[in-house]
Symmetry: C2
């Protein structure tokens, strides 16, 4: 069913479930474990596709929800698909749109899957109704109402044309009981089957579809959902929905989910981007991750650094006055354009002077840093050190 795609596991660590692999798509291959950078609306915000490529990044994603509303899938298709439109000729992934509908309904994606917000109090801001047909919501742009169904999501993702696309699901939030979570998971499974049918109906071998494992924080539901996805013809699987409210809970959910996945398929962990969490995911057998964290952090003045050189913290805030006279680079060991050319003092000045170039330079650094980090992880796995 996926003649132009393959996933080969090239090394398994003897110390954990971590593995190195090669994921091949019609737009080239990526080494795994790897990180997928977020170009939400078809733009990496602060940097060009050329700059993204220069950092060594191998894959980016865009969000179907945002592109569905603006400029619309037809305009993307008129432009020859998203790869051509955004000038990125490497692998690309789109989500199904469901994630954002539900997240924007009650807060932000990161708050939700990490359990930082009380679901019941705020849900319903833009989400109007969930029916068996799909999710009815209000556009955050012009207030008009839309319905995104499994069929519409797959048709939109066909027009957008990413290599890897996701089945349409309900992103189960954090503060819901097992009964709602189970009911929501069942509906997600029905929606995923409809997604798969629509995918097969229009299959032209240029795309591969991942199923999504739901089940919230409940081990038995995660097991059921993992088995559902494994027994259907998805090319890979993504772990979605709430991962709990603490790091420990997240690790538990990821670990018990990974015990039941189809082991030879690529596995993606949605919305996770902190180094410690990525390392934990890798040890459980996760192959790819995505999160706005590295690029969003950069635009606010956060530069990723080796935690072992920074009191255990994963970033420094360049806005801090202690950098006014610091003429050293963000990192002495980093080889990115930002670290080769510019001082902390200059980047501090750019942020203080409200020059967008500051966010651009830190985005280049953070993306390069994440690429280096993932490469380091692959080396550790190859040597069975993690």
């Amino acid at each position: 069913m996926y003649p132009q795609f393959s996933f080969e596991i090239t090394h398994r660590s003897s110390k954990s479930k971590a593995r190195c692999g090669k994921l091949v798509t019609p737009h080239g291959a990526i080494s795994t474990p790897n990180f997928v950078f977020c170009g939400t609306k078809g733009a990496m915000k602060a940097i060009t596709a050329e700059q993204l490529e220069a950092t060594g990044a191998e894959i980016m994603l865009a969000n179907t929800y945002h592109l569905y509303l603006q400029p619309g899938p037809n305009v993307v298709a008129e432009n020859g698909g998203l790869h051509k439109m955004v000038g990125w000729n490497k692998p690309m992934l789109t989500d199904s749109g469901g994630f954002q509908i539900f997240s924007l309904g009650h807060g932000c994606v990161a708050d939700e899957i990490k359990g930082r917000r009380n679901f019941m109090g705020t849900r319903g801001k833009t989400l109007l109704k969930i029916s068996e047909e799909g999710a009815h919501f209000r556009s955050y742009i012009d207030g008009r109402t839309h319905c995104l169904s499994p069929e519409i999501s797959i048709q939109a993702q066909r027009k957008i044309g990413a290599d890897i696309i996701l089945a349409f699901d309900e992103c189960t939030p954090f503060h819901v009981d097992p009964t709602y979570t189970a009911r929501s998971m069942d509906r997600s499974h029905r929606w995923e089957m409809r997604s798969l049918r629509e995918f097969k109906r229009s299959n032209d071998n240029t795309q591969a579809i991942y199923g999504i494992i739901q089940g919230g924080i409940y081990g038995d539901l995660r097991r059921e959902s993992a088995e559902f996805v494994s027994t259907n013809e998805f090319f890979g699987q993504a772990i979605g929905g709430s991962l709990g409210g603490t790091k420990e809970q997240m690790n538990h959910v990821v670990a018990c989910t990974c015990e039941h996945i189809e082991n030879n398929r690529p596995t993606h962990l949605l919305g996770i981007g902190h180094m410690g969490d990525i390392l934990n995911g890798v040890k459980n057998g996760i192959d790819t991750f995505d999160c706005v964290h590295p690029t969003r952090l950069a635009r606010h003045g956060g530069a990723l650094v080796d935690p072992s050189t920074n009191d255990g913290h994963e970033s420094i805030n360049i806005n801090n006055a202690r950098f006014i006279h610091d003429t050293g680079p963000i990192s002495h060991t980093c080889t990115c354009y930002c670290c080769r050319k510019f001082s902390r003092s200059y980047i501090h000045h750019l942020f203080k002077a409200r020059e967008n170039l500051g966010g651009q330079l830190l985005t280049i650094h953070n993306v390069h840093f994440m690429e280096d980090f993932m490469k380091h992880i692959r080396e550790l796995i190859s040597a069975s050190k993690i």
Copy 2:
């Protein structure tokens, strides 16, 4: 006095006063006529120095006024000077700071030199007092009071370290009578002599100083000021102050000033960036121009195009709904990254989605476009076609 600098006129048009030349600085040479791109606070705002260089740009400027207030000349010096700080290893120019003090005192620079604003009604917003010593003003950042004098300006420009620096003058506004303009010009001349003395006192041969020709819209004053600058040891000259309220008046002021300049020195026209005005300046013998116009226009969605293909207009506004489905490039003949890779439809989407990348791509185009335009002008001069 300027062993590391030279200006050689390589061709004079037989049709006008237009000439081609080569301006050599310690950071390399530029071909003239050329355009100086504005990196006001030590940043090209939307693009990196690397992207600026990739467009073919040969020279940039920064504003002493802004850098004086933030991060301060000492911080620039600690970073090894502005070239090193901003990652630009080609020729660079700084103004003296006077231009901004007077402009921000009553409006914006462009309004003022182009006579678009009534001077008497609004002056004094941040400009507190002009004394023989210098200009007393309030910081637009924190409200603290400062005095910029010829000596302080030159010392600041030394620390910043651009190749070409400007003498400190009063930027005479538009709506003032000949008496005030003459008095202001005389003070500018005294300030310029003090600038030159301070320059000589600290001369280490790494910088060259331009005198500034004032005199407002009055031909006799412009003549007197041109002769003053010509008879002193400036490496070049810049035409500053008000150029009048209409294109005709601007052309008249430029023409009558150029009749009296020292012909073998490089001549810069301050703050002019529209194609038609540049062409007129070139015909009068102007060698370099600067203006925020091409880059500011880009950040607001304006893309420069050949006026002969656009009903005589120098730009299109990509925000216009007619570009939603326009899958062609900004310009079919332009070879910049933006035109090679992206459609008008995509850039329209970026602006509609408020993605900064839109301004970044149009900045790349507009800078490349201006470089092409200046190259075309040099070819026309070489063939004595203008």
